[in-house]
Protein backbone atom coordinates (compact mmCIF):
# COMPACT_ATOMS: atom_id res chain seq x y z
CA UNK A 1 0.00 0.00 0.00
CA UNK A 2 1.34 3.44 -0.99
CA UNK A 3 0.52 6.02 1.67
CA UNK A 4 3.12 8.61 0.82
CA UNK A 5 4.17 9.57 -2.69
CA UNK A 6 7.67 10.47 -3.82
CA UNK A 7 6.48 14.06 -4.33
CA UNK A 8 5.11 14.28 -0.80
CA UNK A 9 8.32 12.88 0.65
CA UNK A 10 10.31 15.37 -1.39
CA UNK A 11 8.10 18.21 -0.12
CA UNK A 12 8.54 17.12 3.49
CA UNK A 13 12.31 16.93 2.96
CA UNK A 14 12.32 20.47 1.61
CA UNK A 15 10.32 21.69 4.62
CA UNK A 16 12.88 20.03 6.86
CA UNK A 17 15.68 21.73 4.91
CA UNK A 18 17.09 18.34 3.89
CA UNK A 19 18.84 17.87 0.58
CA UNK A 20 18.39 14.28 -0.54
CA UNK A 21 19.82 12.51 -3.54
CA UNK A 22 17.25 10.63 -5.61
CA UNK A 23 18.50 7.30 -4.16
CA UNK A 24 18.10 8.65 -0.66
CA UNK A 25 14.66 9.99 -1.49
CA UNK A 26 13.55 6.57 -2.79
CA UNK A 27 14.82 4.90 0.34
CA UNK A 28 13.27 7.48 2.69
CA UNK A 29 9.96 7.32 0.87
CA UNK A 30 9.71 3.59 1.29
CA UNK A 31 10.78 3.77 4.93
CA UNK A 32 8.26 6.52 5.66
CA UNK A 33 5.64 4.45 3.89
CA UNK A 34 6.40 1.48 6.16
CA UNK A 35 6.15 3.66 9.26
CA UNK A 36 2.91 5.28 8.14
CA UNK A 37 1.50 1.85 7.24
CA UNK A 38 2.30 0.64 10.72
CA UNK A 39 0.75 3.68 12.38
CA UNK A 40 -2.29 3.41 10.09
CA UNK A 41 -3.32 0.32 12.08
CA UNK A 42 -4.65 2.74 14.65
CA UNK A 43 -7.40 3.62 12.17
CA UNK A 44 -8.81 0.12 12.68
CA UNK A 45 -9.66 0.92 16.30
CA UNK A 46 -13.32 1.58 17.01
CA UNK A 47 -13.49 5.21 18.16
CA UNK A 48 -17.25 5.47 18.18
CA UNK A 49 -18.25 7.70 21.09
CA UNK A 50 -14.63 8.43 22.09
CA UNK A 51 -13.84 12.10 22.53
CA UNK A 52 -10.91 13.49 20.53
CA UNK A 53 -7.88 13.95 22.71
CA UNK A 54 -4.97 16.33 22.30
CA UNK A 55 -2.94 15.02 25.16
CA UNK A 56 -2.17 11.70 26.78
CA UNK A 57 -2.10 13.17 30.28
CA UNK A 58 -5.43 13.49 32.00
CA UNK A 59 -4.68 16.92 33.33
CA UNK A 60 -5.19 20.54 32.34
CA UNK A 61 -4.45 24.15 33.31
CA UNK A 62 -0.81 23.77 34.25
CA UNK A 63 0.01 27.41 34.85
CA UNK A 64 2.64 29.44 36.65
CA UNK A 65 2.66 32.80 38.42
CA UNK A 66 3.94 35.80 36.49
CA UNK A 67 7.11 36.04 38.59
CA UNK A 68 10.46 37.00 37.12
CA UNK A 69 13.26 34.47 37.37
CA UNK A 70 16.92 35.05 36.60
CA UNK A 71 17.87 34.88 32.96
CA UNK A 72 21.14 33.55 31.61
CA UNK A 73 24.01 35.97 31.17
CA UNK A 74 24.68 37.01 27.60
CA UNK A 75 27.90 35.01 27.73
CA UNK A 76 26.11 31.84 28.83
CA UNK A 77 23.29 32.37 26.35
CA UNK A 78 25.79 32.48 23.50
CA UNK A 79 27.95 29.61 24.74
CA UNK A 80 26.64 27.12 22.19
CA UNK A 81 26.67 29.57 19.29
CA UNK A 82 29.12 28.53 16.57
CA UNK A 83 29.49 32.20 15.69
CA UNK A 84 28.51 35.37 17.47
CA UNK A 85 28.66 39.09 16.86
CA UNK A 86 27.77 42.11 18.98
CA UNK A 87 26.06 40.05 21.67
CA UNK A 88 23.98 38.16 19.11
CA UNK A 89 23.91 34.77 17.43
CA UNK A 90 25.49 35.19 14.00
CA UNK A 91 23.58 33.16 11.43
CA UNK A 92 24.09 32.77 7.68
CA UNK A 93 22.04 34.82 5.29
CA UNK A 94 18.51 33.54 5.22
CA UNK A 95 16.78 33.37 1.87
Amino acid sequence: MKIISLEQASHVAKLAELELSSDELDKITSQLDDILGHVAKINEADTEGVRPTSHTLDTNNVLREDTVKDSLSQEDALKNAPQQSGGGFLVPKID
Binding site: S54, L63, D66, V68, K69, S71, G87, G88
Partner: protein, 496 residues
Protein backbone atom coordinates in the same frame (compact mmCIF):
# COMPACT_ATOMS: atom_id res chain seq x y z
CA UNK B 1 -8.21 58.83 -2.59
CA UNK B 2 -8.69 58.04 -6.24
CA UNK B 3 -11.33 57.70 -8.90
CA UNK B 4 -12.23 54.13 -7.97
CA UNK B 5 -12.75 54.75 -4.35
CA UNK B 6 -15.89 55.50 -2.42
CA UNK B 7 -15.08 58.87 -0.89
CA UNK B 8 -17.75 58.84 1.79
CA UNK B 9 -19.88 61.35 -0.07
CA UNK B 10 -22.33 58.62 -0.91
CA UNK B 11 -20.99 58.30 -4.42
CA UNK B 12 -21.11 54.69 -5.56
CA UNK B 13 -17.66 53.25 -6.11
CA UNK B 14 -17.06 50.83 -8.94
CA UNK B 15 -15.19 48.39 -6.72
CA UNK B 16 -15.84 47.57 -3.13
CA UNK B 17 -12.92 46.72 -0.88
CA UNK B 18 -13.11 43.70 1.39
CA UNK B 19 -10.61 44.14 4.21
CA UNK B 20 -9.72 41.98 7.18
CA UNK B 21 -7.04 42.75 9.77
CA UNK B 22 -4.78 40.58 11.89
CA UNK B 23 -3.40 42.44 14.85
CA UNK B 24 -0.67 41.21 17.15
CA UNK B 25 -0.47 42.71 20.61
CA UNK B 26 2.40 42.14 23.03
CA UNK B 27 1.03 41.73 26.53
CA UNK B 28 2.62 43.73 29.32
CA UNK B 29 3.12 40.87 31.75
CA UNK B 30 6.25 40.76 33.90
CA UNK B 31 7.52 37.59 32.28
CA UNK B 32 7.45 35.71 29.00
CA UNK B 33 4.65 33.40 27.86
CA UNK B 34 6.30 30.12 28.82
CA UNK B 35 9.25 30.97 31.08
CA UNK B 36 10.23 33.39 33.86
CA UNK B 37 12.46 35.67 31.78
CA UNK B 38 11.61 39.34 32.23
CA UNK B 39 10.16 41.30 29.32
CA UNK B 40 12.10 44.38 28.54
CA UNK B 41 12.27 46.50 25.45
CA UNK B 42 15.72 47.74 24.57
CA UNK B 43 17.77 45.53 26.90
CA UNK B 44 21.25 44.41 25.80
CA UNK B 45 20.88 41.59 23.25
CA UNK B 46 20.40 38.09 24.64
CA UNK B 47 20.29 39.11 28.30
CA UNK B 48 16.64 38.04 28.76
CA UNK B 49 16.87 34.41 27.76
CA UNK B 50 16.89 31.03 29.47
CA UNK B 51 17.03 27.40 28.33
CA UNK B 52 13.24 27.43 27.71
CA UNK B 53 13.07 30.44 25.39
CA UNK B 54 16.35 29.46 23.74
CA UNK B 55 14.74 26.15 22.85
CA UNK B 56 17.43 24.05 24.49
CA UNK B 57 16.73 20.31 24.62
CA UNK B 58 14.96 18.91 27.66
CA UNK B 59 13.16 22.10 28.64
CA UNK B 60 9.42 22.44 29.12
CA UNK B 61 7.20 25.49 28.61
CA UNK B 62 4.78 26.46 31.40
CA UNK B 63 1.94 28.87 30.63
CA UNK B 64 1.96 32.32 32.28
CA UNK B 65 -1.37 32.64 34.11
CA UNK B 66 -1.31 36.44 33.88
CA UNK B 67 -1.01 36.26 30.09
CA UNK B 68 -4.08 34.02 29.97
CA UNK B 69 -6.01 36.51 32.14
CA UNK B 70 -4.95 39.43 29.95
CA UNK B 71 -5.94 37.56 26.80
CA UNK B 72 -9.35 36.63 28.21
CA UNK B 73 -9.92 40.19 29.38
CA UNK B 74 -9.22 41.48 25.88
CA UNK B 75 -11.39 38.83 24.25
CA UNK B 76 -14.29 39.68 26.58
CA UNK B 77 -13.93 43.40 25.86
CA UNK B 78 -14.25 42.47 22.17
CA UNK B 79 -17.48 40.63 22.89
CA UNK B 80 -15.98 37.20 22.19
CA UNK B 81 -17.07 33.91 23.70
CA UNK B 82 -14.32 32.24 25.66
CA UNK B 83 -13.93 28.66 24.53
CA UNK B 84 -14.31 26.23 27.38
CA UNK B 85 -11.28 24.29 26.21
CA UNK B 86 -8.40 25.59 24.14
CA UNK B 87 -5.10 24.03 23.20
CA UNK B 88 -1.71 25.13 21.94
CA UNK B 89 -0.27 24.02 18.61
CA UNK B 90 3.20 24.08 17.14
CA UNK B 91 3.60 26.16 14.01
CA UNK B 92 6.60 24.64 12.28
CA UNK B 93 9.01 26.61 10.13
CA UNK B 94 12.73 27.09 9.70
CA UNK B 95 13.79 30.62 10.39
CA UNK B 96 16.32 31.85 12.90
CA UNK B 97 13.82 34.13 14.68
CA UNK B 98 12.57 31.06 16.60
CA UNK B 99 15.24 28.87 18.15
CA UNK B 100 12.91 25.86 18.49
CA UNK B 101 12.08 25.82 14.77
CA UNK B 102 8.46 26.20 15.75
CA UNK B 103 6.35 28.86 17.33
CA UNK B 104 3.86 27.89 20.00
CA UNK B 105 0.51 29.25 18.86
CA UNK B 106 -3.13 28.29 18.80
CA UNK B 107 -4.81 26.82 15.76
CA UNK B 108 -8.18 25.11 15.59
CA UNK B 109 -9.08 25.55 19.25
CA UNK B 110 -8.24 29.18 20.06
CA UNK B 111 -8.87 30.87 23.39
CA UNK B 112 -11.87 32.87 22.18
CA UNK B 113 -13.99 33.46 19.11
CA UNK B 114 -17.06 35.17 17.62
CA UNK B 115 -16.84 38.72 18.89
CA UNK B 116 -17.24 42.14 17.38
CA UNK B 117 -16.07 45.71 17.67
CA UNK B 118 -18.29 48.64 16.72
CA UNK B 119 -16.25 51.25 14.88
CA UNK B 120 -17.70 54.74 15.01
CA UNK B 121 -17.16 56.43 11.64
CA UNK B 122 -18.99 59.62 12.61
CA UNK B 123 -21.83 59.35 10.13
CA UNK B 124 -22.23 55.58 10.58
CA UNK B 125 -21.08 52.68 12.70
CA UNK B 126 -19.24 49.74 11.17
CA UNK B 127 -19.59 46.53 13.16
CA UNK B 128 -16.41 44.53 12.58
CA UNK B 129 -16.69 40.85 13.46
CA UNK B 130 -13.85 39.36 15.49
CA UNK B 131 -13.22 35.86 14.21
CA UNK B 132 -10.87 34.82 16.98
CA UNK B 133 -8.49 35.89 19.68
CA UNK B 134 -5.65 33.49 20.28
CA UNK B 135 -2.44 33.37 22.25
CA UNK B 136 1.07 32.75 21.00
CA UNK B 137 4.68 33.62 21.65
CA UNK B 138 6.59 36.39 19.91
CA UNK B 139 9.73 35.69 17.89
CA UNK B 140 13.26 36.97 18.35
CA UNK B 141 14.66 39.86 16.35
CA UNK B 142 16.98 39.57 13.38
CA UNK B 143 19.35 42.34 12.43
CA UNK B 144 20.53 41.93 8.87
CA UNK B 145 24.12 42.94 8.37
CA UNK B 146 25.21 44.86 5.29
CA UNK B 147 24.73 48.48 4.51
CA UNK B 148 21.06 48.59 3.54
CA UNK B 149 19.66 46.41 6.33
CA UNK B 150 17.48 44.64 3.78
CA UNK B 151 17.32 40.85 3.82
CA UNK B 152 18.03 40.59 0.10
CA UNK B 153 21.32 42.45 0.35
CA UNK B 154 22.72 41.05 3.58
CA UNK B 155 25.17 38.21 3.92
CA UNK B 156 24.53 37.37 7.56
CA UNK B 157 22.07 38.10 10.34
CA UNK B 158 22.51 38.72 14.03
CA UNK B 159 19.82 37.21 16.24
CA UNK B 160 18.64 38.61 19.56
CA UNK B 161 16.27 36.30 21.45
CA UNK B 162 15.23 38.79 24.15
CA UNK B 163 11.82 39.14 22.52
CA UNK B 164 11.43 35.41 21.77
CA UNK B 165 8.66 34.05 23.97
CA UNK B 166 7.01 37.38 24.78
CA UNK B 167 3.26 36.75 25.20
CA UNK B 168 1.23 37.86 22.21
CA UNK B 169 -2.41 37.83 21.39
CA UNK B 170 -3.53 37.78 17.80
CA UNK B 171 -6.86 39.37 17.02
CA UNK B 172 -8.33 38.36 13.67
CA UNK B 173 -11.29 40.19 12.16
CA UNK B 174 -13.90 38.99 9.72
CA UNK B 175 -13.54 40.58 6.26
CA UNK B 176 -16.09 43.20 7.32
CA UNK B 177 -14.05 46.36 6.78
CA UNK B 178 -14.95 48.26 3.61
CA UNK B 179 -12.57 51.23 3.37
CA UNK B 180 -8.98 52.04 4.36
CA UNK B 181 -10.38 54.74 6.68
CA UNK B 182 -12.47 52.12 8.47
CA UNK B 183 -9.36 49.97 8.89
CA UNK B 184 -7.56 52.86 10.53
CA UNK B 185 -10.48 53.68 12.82
CA UNK B 186 -10.86 50.02 13.76
CA UNK B 187 -7.24 49.93 14.84
CA UNK B 188 -7.52 53.18 16.80
CA UNK B 189 -10.60 51.84 18.59
CA UNK B 190 -8.94 48.48 19.26
CA UNK B 191 -5.83 50.13 20.64
CA UNK B 192 -7.84 52.41 22.88
CA UNK B 193 -9.78 49.46 24.36
CA UNK B 194 -6.56 47.57 25.03
CA UNK B 195 -5.04 50.64 26.69
CA UNK B 196 -8.15 50.95 28.89
CA UNK B 197 -7.72 47.30 29.86
CA UNK B 198 -4.09 48.00 30.75
CA UNK B 199 -2.85 44.75 29.23
CA UNK B 200 -0.37 46.22 26.73
CA UNK B 201 1.38 49.52 26.12
CA UNK B 202 0.28 49.22 22.46
CA UNK B 203 3.31 51.12 21.18
CA UNK B 204 3.37 50.87 17.40
CA UNK B 205 6.87 52.41 17.31
CA UNK B 206 8.24 49.71 19.58
CA UNK B 207 6.26 47.01 17.81
CA UNK B 208 4.01 46.02 20.70
CA UNK B 209 1.02 46.57 18.39
CA UNK B 210 1.46 45.24 14.86
CA UNK B 211 -1.05 44.89 12.10
CA UNK B 212 -1.25 42.99 8.82
CA UNK B 213 -4.09 43.66 6.40
CA UNK B 214 -5.80 41.44 3.86
CA UNK B 215 -7.57 43.21 1.02
CA UNK B 216 -9.45 42.12 -2.06
CA UNK B 217 -11.74 43.99 -4.42
CA UNK B 218 -15.05 43.01 -5.92
CA UNK B 219 -17.47 44.87 -8.16
CA UNK B 220 -19.73 46.92 -5.90
CA UNK B 221 -22.68 44.86 -4.78
CA UNK B 222 -21.21 41.54 -6.00
CA UNK B 223 -21.35 38.54 -3.69
CA UNK B 224 -18.25 36.65 -4.81
CA UNK B 225 -14.90 37.60 -3.33
CA UNK B 226 -11.86 38.68 -5.35
CA UNK B 227 -8.29 37.47 -4.91
CA UNK B 228 -6.71 38.96 -1.81
CA UNK B 229 -3.27 40.25 -1.04
CA UNK B 230 -1.77 40.54 2.42
CA UNK B 231 0.08 43.74 3.33
CA UNK B 232 2.78 43.73 5.96
CA UNK B 233 4.79 46.45 7.68
CA UNK B 234 1.84 48.72 8.38
CA UNK B 235 3.34 50.09 11.56
CA UNK B 236 1.38 53.28 12.11
CA UNK B 237 -2.26 54.31 11.84
CA UNK B 238 -1.38 56.48 8.88
CA UNK B 239 0.45 53.67 7.10
CA UNK B 240 -2.51 51.30 7.54
CA UNK B 241 -4.71 53.72 5.67
CA UNK B 242 -2.06 54.70 3.10
CA UNK B 243 -0.97 51.12 2.41
CA UNK B 244 -4.55 49.99 1.89
CA UNK B 245 -5.33 53.01 -0.28
CA UNK B 246 -2.37 52.21 -2.49
CA UNK B 247 -3.33 48.55 -2.68
CA UNK B 248 -6.93 49.44 -3.53
CA UNK B 249 -5.71 51.63 -6.36
CA UNK B 250 -3.29 49.00 -7.61
CA UNK B 251 -5.85 46.18 -7.61
CA UNK B 252 -8.54 48.39 -9.17
CA UNK B 253 -6.05 49.33 -11.90
CA UNK B 254 -5.34 45.66 -12.63
CA UNK B 255 -9.02 44.78 -12.75
CA UNK B 256 -9.75 47.74 -15.04
CA UNK B 257 -7.13 46.45 -17.46
CA UNK B 258 -8.69 43.01 -17.31
CA UNK B 259 -5.68 41.58 -15.48
CA UNK B 260 -5.70 39.22 -12.56
CA UNK B 261 -4.74 40.10 -9.00
CA UNK B 262 -2.16 37.58 -7.79
CA UNK B 263 -2.45 36.21 -4.30
CA UNK B 264 0.64 37.69 -2.69
CA UNK B 265 2.18 38.95 0.50
CA UNK B 266 3.21 42.53 -0.08
CA UNK B 267 5.44 44.89 1.86
CA UNK B 268 4.43 48.52 2.42
CA UNK B 269 7.20 51.07 1.99
CA UNK B 270 6.23 54.38 3.59
CA UNK B 271 9.00 56.28 1.82
CA UNK B 272 7.61 55.54 -1.63
CA UNK B 273 4.08 55.03 -0.31
CA UNK B 274 3.76 51.84 -2.37
CA UNK B 275 3.55 48.10 -1.77
CA UNK B 276 5.75 45.50 -3.42
CA UNK B 277 5.50 41.71 -3.57
CA UNK B 278 7.66 39.77 -1.13
CA UNK B 279 9.46 36.79 -2.57
CA UNK B 280 8.49 33.90 -0.37
CA UNK B 281 9.18 30.23 -0.84
CA UNK B 282 6.09 28.56 -2.18
CA UNK B 283 6.09 26.05 0.64
CA UNK B 284 6.60 28.75 3.27
CA UNK B 285 2.98 28.59 4.38
CA UNK B 286 2.98 24.85 5.05
CA UNK B 287 3.31 25.10 8.80
CA UNK B 288 2.21 21.54 9.68
CA UNK B 289 0.43 22.58 12.86
CA UNK B 290 0.03 19.87 15.48
CA UNK B 291 -0.92 19.96 19.18
CA UNK B 292 2.10 20.76 21.32
CA UNK B 293 2.67 17.63 23.44
CA UNK B 294 4.51 19.78 26.03
CA UNK B 295 1.36 21.70 26.94
CA UNK B 296 -1.89 20.40 28.38
CA UNK B 297 -5.26 21.98 27.51
CA UNK B 298 -6.56 25.19 29.07
CA UNK B 299 -10.00 24.69 30.53
CA UNK B 300 -11.89 27.86 31.35
CA UNK B 301 -14.77 27.46 33.72
CA UNK B 302 -17.56 30.02 33.84
CA UNK B 303 -16.66 31.36 37.28
CA UNK B 304 -13.08 32.09 36.31
CA UNK B 305 -14.27 33.94 33.22
CA UNK B 306 -16.82 35.86 35.29
CA UNK B 307 -14.10 36.92 37.73
CA UNK B 308 -12.06 38.35 34.86
CA UNK B 309 -15.13 40.02 33.37
CA UNK B 310 -15.67 41.91 36.62
CA UNK B 311 -12.21 43.45 36.29
CA UNK B 312 -13.02 45.10 32.97
CA UNK B 313 -13.31 48.86 33.50
CA UNK B 314 -15.77 51.17 31.80
CA UNK B 315 -14.63 51.10 28.15
CA UNK B 316 -14.38 54.10 25.78
CA UNK B 317 -17.75 53.48 24.09
CA UNK B 318 -19.56 53.33 27.44
CA UNK B 319 -17.71 56.41 28.68
CA UNK B 320 -18.74 58.47 25.67
CA UNK B 321 -22.33 57.35 26.16
CA UNK B 322 -22.26 58.41 29.82
CA UNK B 323 -20.61 61.76 29.05
CA UNK B 324 -23.28 62.50 26.45
CA UNK B 325 -26.35 61.18 28.21
CA UNK B 326 -25.61 61.74 31.89
CA UNK B 327 -23.19 64.67 31.81
CA UNK B 328 -24.60 66.38 28.73
CA UNK B 329 -21.15 67.12 27.27
CA UNK B 330 -20.92 68.14 23.61
CA UNK B 331 -20.25 65.19 21.31
CA UNK B 332 -16.75 66.27 20.30
CA UNK B 333 -15.68 66.99 23.89
CA UNK B 334 -16.97 63.62 25.09
CA UNK B 335 -15.06 61.77 22.38
CA UNK B 336 -11.90 63.74 22.93
CA UNK B 337 -11.84 63.00 26.65
CA UNK B 338 -12.68 59.30 26.21
CA UNK B 339 -10.00 58.87 23.55
CA UNK B 340 -7.32 58.75 26.24
CA UNK B 341 -7.74 56.59 29.31
CA UNK B 342 -5.74 58.83 31.65
CA UNK B 343 -7.55 61.95 30.47
CA UNK B 344 -10.89 60.23 31.02
CA UNK B 345 -9.86 59.15 34.53
CA UNK B 346 -8.69 62.67 35.29
CA UNK B 347 -11.94 64.13 34.05
CA UNK B 348 -14.00 61.57 35.99
CA UNK B 349 -12.16 62.61 39.15
CA UNK B 350 -12.90 66.28 38.45
CA UNK B 351 -16.56 65.50 37.73
CA UNK B 352 -16.71 63.72 41.06
CA UNK B 353 -15.27 66.69 42.94
CA UNK B 354 -17.19 69.42 41.12
CA UNK B 355 -20.58 67.78 40.73
CA UNK B 356 -23.01 68.11 37.83
CA UNK B 357 -23.23 71.91 37.90
CA UNK B 358 -19.55 72.61 37.23
CA UNK B 359 -18.21 69.51 35.50
CA UNK B 360 -18.61 71.09 32.07
CA UNK B 361 -16.09 73.72 33.11
CA UNK B 362 -13.64 70.89 33.87
CA UNK B 363 -14.32 69.37 30.45
CA UNK B 364 -13.62 72.73 28.84
CA UNK B 365 -10.36 73.18 30.71
CA UNK B 366 -9.21 69.64 30.00
CA UNK B 367 -9.91 69.87 26.27
CA UNK B 368 -8.95 73.56 26.04
CA UNK B 369 -6.15 75.37 27.86
CA UNK B 370 -4.91 72.25 29.66
CA UNK B 371 -4.73 70.24 26.43
CA UNK B 372 -2.99 73.11 24.66
CA UNK B 373 -0.39 73.30 27.43
CA UNK B 374 0.23 69.52 27.39
CA UNK B 375 0.50 69.61 23.64
CA UNK B 376 2.98 72.47 23.69
CA UNK B 377 5.16 70.76 26.27
CA UNK B 378 4.70 67.26 24.76
CA UNK B 379 3.43 65.97 28.08
CA UNK B 380 0.84 63.39 29.07
CA UNK B 381 -1.81 64.46 31.54
CA UNK B 382 -0.23 62.19 34.19
CA UNK B 383 3.07 64.04 33.84
CA UNK B 384 1.56 67.51 34.11
CA UNK B 385 2.04 67.79 37.88
CA UNK B 386 -1.40 69.42 38.12
CA UNK B 387 -3.71 67.25 40.16
CA UNK B 388 -7.43 67.00 39.48
CA UNK B 389 -7.92 68.54 42.92
CA UNK B 390 -5.84 71.62 41.99
CA UNK B 391 -7.64 72.12 38.70
CA UNK B 392 -10.95 71.80 40.51
CA UNK B 393 -10.04 74.42 43.09
CA UNK B 394 -9.12 76.77 40.25
CA UNK B 395 -12.50 76.11 38.65
CA UNK B 396 -14.28 76.65 41.99
CA UNK B 397 -12.59 80.05 42.29
CA UNK B 398 -13.75 81.10 38.83
CA UNK B 399 -17.26 79.82 39.35
CA UNK B 400 -17.42 81.49 42.76
CA UNK B 401 -16.36 84.84 41.30
CA UNK B 402 -13.10 84.99 43.26
CA UNK B 403 -11.00 85.35 40.11
CA UNK B 404 -11.86 86.35 36.58
CA UNK B 405 -11.59 83.77 33.84
CA UNK B 406 -8.88 85.88 32.27
CA UNK B 407 -6.78 85.87 35.46
CA UNK B 408 -7.51 82.15 35.73
CA UNK B 409 -5.58 81.54 32.54
CA UNK B 410 -2.44 83.11 33.95
CA UNK B 411 -2.94 81.34 37.28
CA UNK B 412 -3.15 78.10 35.34
CA UNK B 413 0.07 78.90 33.53
CA UNK B 414 1.82 79.47 36.82
CA UNK B 415 0.34 76.27 38.26
CA UNK B 416 1.83 74.42 35.30
CA UNK B 417 5.20 76.08 35.76
CA UNK B 418 5.62 76.15 39.53
CA UNK B 419 3.24 73.29 40.51
CA UNK B 420 1.88 75.61 43.21
CA UNK B 421 -1.74 75.46 44.36
CA UNK B 422 -4.01 78.08 42.73
CA UNK B 423 -4.95 79.38 46.17
CA UNK B 424 -1.30 80.17 46.95
CA UNK B 425 -0.68 81.80 43.57
CA UNK B 426 -3.66 84.10 44.02
CA UNK B 427 -2.61 85.11 47.52
CA UNK B 428 1.01 85.60 46.49
CA UNK B 429 0.21 87.89 43.58
CA UNK B 430 -2.91 89.45 45.07
CA UNK B 431 -5.00 88.35 42.09
CA UNK B 432 -8.35 88.04 43.77
CA UNK B 433 -11.15 89.62 41.77
CA UNK B 434 -12.34 93.00 43.02
CA UNK B 435 -16.07 92.74 43.61
CA UNK B 436 -16.33 95.52 46.18
CA UNK B 437 -18.83 97.96 44.66
CA UNK B 438 -17.50 100.93 46.61
CA UNK B 439 -13.97 100.33 45.48
CA UNK B 440 -15.00 99.75 41.87
CA UNK B 441 -17.24 102.81 41.90
CA UNK B 442 -14.29 104.97 42.89
CA UNK B 443 -12.12 103.68 40.05
CA UNK B 444 -14.98 104.06 37.54
CA UNK B 445 -15.44 107.68 38.59
CA UNK B 446 -11.76 108.30 37.92
CA UNK B 447 -12.00 106.72 34.47
CA UNK B 448 -15.11 108.73 33.59
CA UNK B 449 -13.45 111.94 34.73
CA UNK B 450 -10.38 111.29 32.61
CA UNK B 451 -12.20 110.42 29.37
CA UNK B 452 -14.65 113.22 28.63
CA UNK B 453 -14.68 112.59 24.91
CA UNK B 454 -15.50 108.89 25.10
CA UNK B 455 -18.09 109.52 27.76
CA UNK B 456 -19.78 111.98 25.41
CA UNK B 457 -19.76 109.38 22.61
CA UNK B 458 -21.52 106.89 24.85
CA UNK B 459 -24.04 109.49 25.85
CA UNK B 460 -24.60 110.22 22.14
CA UNK B 461 -25.65 106.61 21.72
CA UNK B 462 -22.37 104.99 20.67
CA UNK B 463 -22.82 101.99 22.95
CA UNK B 464 -19.64 100.31 21.76
CA UNK B 465 -17.51 103.06 23.25
CA UNK B 466 -18.36 101.79 26.72
CA UNK B 467 -16.02 98.86 26.06
CA UNK B 468 -13.08 101.26 26.01
CA UNK B 469 -14.03 102.67 29.39
CA UNK B 470 -14.42 99.21 30.91
CA UNK B 471 -11.03 98.32 29.46
CA UNK B 472 -9.55 101.31 31.29
CA UNK B 473 -11.03 100.07 34.57
CA UNK B 474 -9.64 96.59 33.96
CA UNK B 475 -6.22 98.09 33.23
CA UNK B 476 -6.28 100.14 36.44
CA UNK B 477 -7.16 97.04 38.46
CA UNK B 478 -4.66 94.86 36.58
CA UNK B 479 -7.53 92.75 35.27
CA UNK B 480 -8.88 91.99 38.71
CA UNK B 481 -12.13 93.95 38.52
CA UNK B 482 -15.23 91.82 38.23
CA UNK B 483 -16.21 92.69 34.63
CA UNK B 484 -19.94 92.11 35.10
CA UNK B 485 -20.03 94.45 38.09
CA UNK B 486 -17.96 97.11 36.30
CA UNK B 487 -20.31 96.97 33.33
CA UNK B 488 -23.34 97.39 35.56
CA UNK B 489 -21.99 100.29 37.61
CA UNK B 490 -20.55 102.04 34.56
CA UNK B 491 -23.82 101.85 32.62
CA UNK B 492 -25.76 103.17 35.58
CA UNK B 493 -23.40 106.12 36.03
CA UNK B 494 -23.38 107.06 32.35
CA UNK B 495 -27.15 106.97 32.04
CA UNK B 496 -27.53 109.63 34.69
Amino acid sequence: MNKYMNNNTGEMAKYEAVIGLETHVELSTNTKMFCGCALSFGAEPNTRTCPVCLGLPGTLPVINSKAVQFAIKTALALNCSINKSSIFHRKNYFYADMPKNYQISQYNRPLASNGFLDVDMGSYVRRVGITRVHMEEDTGKLIHTGSSGRISESDASIVDYNRAGTPLIEIVTEPDIRTPAEAKEYLIALRNIILYLDVSDCSMEQGSLRCDANISLKPAGAKSMGTKTEIKNLNSFRFIQRGLEYEYKRQAGLLEEGKKVLQQTRHYDHLTDTTSALRLKEEAHDYRYFPDPDLVPLIMDKDAVQDIKREIPELPGEKIKRYLEVFGLPDETARLIASDKDTAQYFDRCANILGPGKLKAAANWITGDFAAYLNKESLKIKQSGISAESLCSLIEMIEGGRISSKIAKSVFEEMAQSKKEPQDIIMEHNLEQVSDEGELSKIIDEVIAANDEVVQQVKDGKDKAIGFLIGQVMAKTKGKANPALVNGIMSKKLKK
